[in-house]
Point group: C2
Chain length 409, copies 2
């Protein structure tokens, strides 16, 4: 074979080609993956068989013959879960199923933004969203965070400054509940302040709650959407609460916006069996599943934090998340994690470099994100030891002799 003969006709600005799939390296600490041992295979098999026996005939019709908004029993489940856990008052009519929350991000951007528009994003934020926003040519203004999420004083300065320049920001993209990557939960008072500020300056809020199912203690304040649905478009996902290979997310908005978002979905529906299996399984087992999963994840987080303390000692600052599957951490200012990427890869280790998870790359140069859900506790411990060794070899950090011994043995 000579290969496709028309490379001369390719369009500009192509991404790099996909490599041939070579599997994961041994220490794979990136990506929203989950723990394979916690997938309830038998219960999912039963759920799938049961729903296909009962409703399989409807697969013959696009969208199961029930329109582009998604499988109604799944929308019912989403509405009831959001009522119970996020204090959101919505029904199946307010919910649209998406092919993962990434599609939800695409849809909201298509509704509100055009190339060159300005948006406000948390200073550290979900790398996948930042990279989508950049690809769409949006001008990203980063809003500084503290342990409770966006700092309201800083946000007000940004909004004032934009107003002075005559710029209307198209939305504030926030992950208030298990912030990605910092793992914080925004307190109620700050949520209320955020809504007030956003209303004053006429900027809608784009609320991403992909991790809000996985909170160690069930104590999160209501979703921003619950506090004022007219100001907020809300997205979520089953990738973290159940499984990311299922491509099932959801979007909640008032109908005037939702009806346009559905029209912008741009596919011919989200995979039906994926939707049916989630609805069938979670309608019965959501609470149990979430409890079991969160407990196991918090245990893995403990293992990772302990390993970091053991290997890095005082050279690491960890931001213990209140839920989720990732740990955000900071190495000493002298460490630029971008310089660790290649040697870590050589040692079979991949991590999310802070600069890819930040609006201002340089300001995040000593930060990184480690995902702890997929790897076993043994891999977590070996991996953190490997990271410490690589870091020491490249930067002389961590310096304590005990760590040094561990790191070089």
């Amino acid at each position: 074979m000579d290969g496709f003969a028309y490379a001369n006709l390719y369009t500009m600005d192509l991404p790099p080609p996909a490599p041939r799939w070579g599997g994961f390296p041994p220490y794979y600490f990136v990506g929203g993956n989950n723990d394979p041992t916690l997938i309830p295979c038998e219960l999912l098999a039963e759920a799938a068989a049961s729903v296909l026996r009962r409703e399989g005939a409807s697969l013959a019709i696009y969208n199961l013959g029930q329109g582009p908004q998604g499988y109604p029993p799944l929308r019912d489940f989403v509405a009831s879960k959001l009522a119970a856990r996020r204090s959101m008052h919505c029904t199946r009519d307010d919910v649209a199923i998406t092919s993962g929350s990434g599609q939800g991000i695409d849809m909201v951007c298509k509704l509100l933004t055009a190339r060159g528009d300005t948006i406000i994003v948390e200073g550290y934020s979900y790398g996948g969203a930042i990279s989508k926003f950049r690809k769409m040519g949006l001008n990203i203004v980063g809003a500084p965070l503290d342990d409770d999420g966006i700092r309201m004083d800083a946000l007000e300065d940004i909004l004032k400054d934009l107003k002075a320049k005559g710029v209307s920001a198209k939305f504030i993209y926030t992950i208030p509940t298990i912030q990605n990557p910092t793992g914080s939960i925004m307190p109620l008072e700050r949520r209320q302040a955020l809504l007030r500020l956003a209303k004053t300056y006429g900027v809608p809020i784009f609320e991403d709650e992909c991790y809000a199912d996985l909170i160690w203690a069930w104590d999160a304040p209501p979703a921003l959407y619950a506090l004022d649905p007219t100001q907020v478009i809300h997205i979520g996902s089953f990738s973290k609460s159940l499984a990311p290979a299922l491509r099932v997310g959801y979007l909640v908005a008032e109908w005037s916006a939702l009806s346009l978002l559905i029209a912008l979905k741009g596919d011919s529906g989200t995979g039906a069996v994926d939707q049916m299996v989630v609805a069938e399984y979670f309608s019965r087992f959501y609470d149990d599943h979430i409890k079991r999963l969160s407990t196991a994840l918090e245990g893995k987080l403990d293992v990772m934090e302990e390993a970091l303390r053991r290997e890095f000692g005082v050279s690491v600052e960890t931001f213990r998340p209140k839920g989720g599957i990732f740990l955000w951490l900071k190495l000493p200012d002298a460490v630029d994690v971008r310089k660790l990427i290649a040697p870590a890869a050589k040692a079979g280790l991949v991590f999310n470099a802070g600069p890819e998870w930040a609006c201002d790359a340089d300001a995040a140069k000593s930060y990184l994100r480690l995902c702890f859900a997929m790897p076993s506790t043994e891999v977590i411990e070996d991996g953190v030891r490997t990271l410490a060794r690589v870091c020491f070899e490249e930067t002389g950090i961590p310096v304590r002799s005990a760590n040094l011994e561990n790191a070089t043995r």
Copy 2:
């Protein structure tokens, strides 16, 4: 609720909002739907349960931990099916799974086209593709068809003309096997001529074989891709051969192009359970399923053709398809089917108006496409009678007294 408060920030060029889903009208003759009674619910339930018991744990990882090209057993099945039925020599490495063939169309356009580019499309073609091409701002040149697909003399004129104008067409989009909407199969000699012409003028071929599984007689010549993979990007789907609510299609191309197409996919994978169920079921039952489905569909086509002869007499010209799920037909020149859309809708009947399935809308004003897979034979007969009545009331056609009696009773 006051509705979302930021309509002032919406971007330009929004599509019309989705209406609240109100179900299908009684005579629904559009869309690539299938016959619900022909979905093998029990076998799909068993397939789903079996694959989830065996491999469910891998759902914990994006793309089942097997990379963005798709579930390997499904790619194996696609490759073996294409070898057996389309004479294509490919392996799992040449196949990428897509979320329906629509995503495949998006991907190919992203690889080869930019706004303002010119493409060549069969004069009558898939309305969904035409509408995508228009949305992307492509300049569509229609190539005239006869009973064997694109006319080579006309295509050569087009290519010569474009060359004279200094325009490089980015691809020729063709549905050579069960052409949509005309139902033709391009003979081998013409396929060879098409490849020669395309090569001479330096234009790649974008081959869409979404209906090629459903051929009444297994006598189709090899796919264009089989004849020269360096000239062709090939797409297909399981929407027609199994079920459209499953969002599973595929794309076959030489790796130099495929690796870029995968990078352009733009989601985080195609729904895994959908993929797993298709692979598990079709790896065992494809031949039986296709035989049973094709036989049933051909029977429904007979019912529709007979009803059309009965109700329209000599006032209809039908283009009996060699497979698939739709019938293309022509009413007398005096009938503009666009004027039938509203009164038909009032009578509970929807059809694909020829102008939406054509590069030159006006030239297709007396044509329409009727899909026969989903409706029962009774609905087909009642629906065709309703169509004749509406047509008679609006245009005085069909005129024969016998039909008149039928149409008005």
